[in-house]
Symmetry: C2
Subunit: 402 residues, 2 copies
């Protein structure tokens, strides 16, 4: 028995279902995917049986500047040597708030937390405190975290948890208008994401007309435009992602990659919402932890130096072009969606991802970690050579489909 | 202007209210309390102006084995050198789940998260998934985190967020019985804490008869007994804290000190609730982070070696006895409540903590960081000499009251 299977047998006894959440391979991952990893460096992972992979998931987003990045690790360690947590924060919480406020054009202030879902939840609280209203519109199928209000997909959450969170269809102006009218007078906010990156389906870039309409409805209703940039943040733009469409949110939620994998989330807001943000009480034991803030300052510096959104776009396009050419050559038509920085690859007419699963298993066996039904992520630790090597592996994976 | 005030002026511009949450000195801390710290080591803190303090807050709980504990830091660093986060967890998630299951007698399984509030929320979800019922009874005045269901004290949370969380009076059998009857047939769980440690009031140890009654009602209704041991965990017992009263919870929530300040929370449950825990989807980008799990394994080993609950009790009693003697001698009667490991010190008939504030300011000026209206925390990094030195400072603080 290999190490991975031995660990899975032990885990079955002490972890419900063998593993929980999105990192469970039992939840819809193809055959042969490792449940445990031993080592990570740059854009590469090694599983507990010594197999090496070029990673296209980046820990589902958090890794953006390379596993074990020496500059980021050194910055975090230097802070740890002095102080990580205490009875009050370290001074660099102010440095980091200033950095975000200068980098993100809508932001006048920042609050830091741990989970991306902390950030989306605090945005809702600030919107409600500001407006005195209750309803927050969320896009059907969108993921904003696993807290009850955001988790209609799971058991254990009664309907009351969602009663104030009616849904609308992303990119559908008419549908959004009707949904907003239905709660007129009680609308506290509309939550959007950088683009439509729902798991299990083709991704959709944001229609700029839709983005303008969201802003227009929020302005008319006095509601907050809440941008959940937890997943797309810093990969599409170093500013809030909807600035690409000329639209500023009132509140934005950040997490995942902002500290390159150290646990940190951020809530940014404009000056109009400052008093509301001051009026609520939100906190957590680890929300002031200093080492992840030191990591974030270094991560933001690196992403600026590397012109990350353009670099990731170029690398993602190289991967996309290569996959397109291979799919054509092997007569296995694929659908590539989402921005190149966060590519999603599916096969045409692929019921239950049957072909996608086989392809991903083949890619895995050839040393590339891909995902069949979730958007993937590029990092600035990927190089053109890594992409070229990955494409050699995917070519073998296409071949093996026949 | 000193460094602390200069930082506060900068922070006013980029952090709502100058600081958020429980680490804001604007929220009810006495005059002169530092808003920022520069260095932490053992049981000592240094503020940004170089003042040194013996710390009795332990970061509001997380620090239990000393700031910068070398063994714990080495364990976390060794794990960071290999892998912190990846597309799936490191093997030690299984080691840590096994360790908790062997140490905590009710536990058959574990799920790991980041915030203590993640843990309390997941307990609710598991209880509801198991029972198919909606109502969770929570003690009036108790703090279970800042998520909306637990945060009735703050703005920005509409009443619907609490509609399924009716309250009862802790330690009041009759009141609990009535509260449970009012939701009979729809009761998913009752949330309790290790003892009544509400901020701003005298602490109350758990009445063992009350604990038995909670168990009895849960059994009769088929509801979950949910123990929130986030704050009291590992300081009263290395097992779940209500085992001290002979009562086992079905689900328990852990956080704060389990990794000595590295961000980690845990949900433990018994075998009856295993399938329900498997049936829900809960997760977070950083919930599988390996370095805090390495820190937790080392922390748990140290607390066992040091017989932490008894050691902290002895140190806390030394502090309590000294304060009692001083209060008597200076004719300033005090009320000391809660367990010695987590002492709360207030002055008799002290309206608005007026005397408490002056005393704590005096103690601070003499090098001791205390809190006037929140329970404090001992750590195994405190020594008898530290307590003796702290008592010299509190003696000067009592003197200065006259």
């Amino acid at each position: 028995m290999n190490n991975n299977d031995a660990l899975k047998i032990r885990a079955e006894k002490v972890i419900p279902g063998g593993m929980y959440g999105h990192m469970s391979v039992y939840r819809g991952m193809p055959e042969g995917y490792p449940q445990y990893f031993r080592r990570a460096e740059g854009c590469r992972l090694w599983d507990v049986d010594g197999n090496e992979y070029i990673d296209f998931m980046c820990s589902y987003g958090p890794m953006i500047a390379g596993y074990g990045n020496h500059r980021i690790r050194a910055a975090a360690d230097a802070q740890r040597n002095e102080l990580d947590i205490a009875d009050a924060p370290a001074p660099l919480i102010v440095d980091l708030a200033e950095k975000f406020v200068s980098q993100v054009s809508h932001a006048g202030w920042a609050i830091f937390a741990k989970n991306g879902n902390d950030a989306t939840t605090v945005c809702n609280m600030v919107a409600r405190a500001q407006t005195g209203k209750r309803k927050i519109l969320v896009a059907e199928g969108a993921y904003h975290g696993a807290q009850p209000w955001a988790a209609r997909r799971t058991k254990g959450t009664p309907a009351e948890d969602y009663v104030n969170f009616p849904t609308y269809q992303f990119n559908d102006i008419e549908n959004l208008t009707v949904a907003a009218q239905a709660v007129a007078g009680d609308l506290a906010g509309i939550v959007v994401s950088g683009f439509k990156h729902d798991a299990g389906s083709e991704q959709e870039l944001t229609d700029p007309d839709f983005a303008c309409k969201v802003r227009e409805i929020c302005d008319a209703e006095g509601a907050a435009l809440i941008l959940d940039d937890v997943r797309a943040g810093l990969r599409l733009s170093l500013d809030a992602s909807w600035t690409l469409h000329g639209v500023q949110p009132n509140l934005s939620a950040w997490g995942k990659c902002i500290a390159n994998g150290e646990p940190l989330a951020a809530i940014l807001g404009d000056d109009e919402y400052r008093d509301a943000a001051r009026s609520i009480f939100v906190t957590g034991s680890f929300w002031y932890q200093a080492a992840p803030m030191a990591a974030a300052l270094e991560t933001l510096a690196i992403l600026e130096e590397e012109d990350a959104p353009r670099t990731l776009e170029r690398l993602g396009q190289q991967f996309r072009d290569g996959l397109y050419e291979q799919a054509q050559r092997h007569a296995r038509p694929i659908v590539q969606s989402g921005p190149p920085q966060m590519p999603t690859v599916m096969f045409e007419d692929d019921v239950n991802f049957e072909l996608g699963f086989r392809f991903c298993t083949n890619a895995l066996r050839n040393g590339v970690y891909m995902h069949p039904w979730h958007n993937m992520f590029l990092s600035v630790a990927h190089t053109e050579q890594d992409i070229a090597q990955a494409l050699e592996a995917t070519n073998r994976a296409f071949k093996a489909l026949s």
